[in-house]
Symmetry: C2
Subunit: 116 residues, 2 copies
């Protein structure tokens, strides 16, 4: 079994699952409601599986109301994923800055030192 962060990212690495999360960000929804937009492309068990991935990554939690399973967004893992990224934000922003500078210098023929 993988570490939580890996599971979170793995769960996010699928457009269907991201769309499900997007939908859930608007509020609770049960399985068939979540499945509906995808039923042209895949069957219900496929959705069940996706939900299981999301659930075991802790990104959603399922309740039960009669025969329905109302699903709910679970923010914590998302926060941790963003936290991991933010940790390196300055580094990759520097890189983006250098890229921007470089692209600029290509226009002007300017010099751009970069030693280390």
């Amino acid at each position: 079994m993988r570490d939580p962060l890996s599971r979170t990212f793995a769960a996010l690495a699928d457009p269907t699952r991201r769309a499900i999360l997007a939908k859930l960000s608007e509020g609770e929804a049960n399985v068939s409601e979540l499945a509906e937009p995808f039923l042209d492309d895949m069957t219900l068990p496929a959705i069940t599986k996706h939900l299981k991935v999301l659930e075991s990554a802790g990104l959603i939690s399922k309740g039960r109301k009669a025969q329905w399973r109302p699903c709910q967004l679970n923010g914590e893992p998302l926060r941790e994923a963003v936290d991991w990224m933010e940790q390196y934000r300055s580094a990759w922003e520097d890189q983006l800055d250098r890229l921007g500078a470089y692209l600029k210098s290509k226009h002007k023929g300017a010099r751009h030192g970069r030693e280390k």
Copy 2:
């Protein structure tokens, strides 16, 4: 082939690859430098493969300096990944707030307003 966002998240869904990115956030490094911390656990070709995943997700780019391939962090996909998450930040923060409130109320049975 998958969409860029999925590729980014998939690339992040592995602790080795995240560690490589973390290292690169401190500056350029060539393949063997990046591999060194992992050589107890896996071989060099495994690292090459991880780098290829990162590269084809656009997260790093490889240069060439003699027989070395200096790797460099590439911020753009990370920014896009964070952007995707931020899009739903308010939704999952609301959820975290409700969770916090709930946990609080379990202790105090107190009321706690928090509306947008």
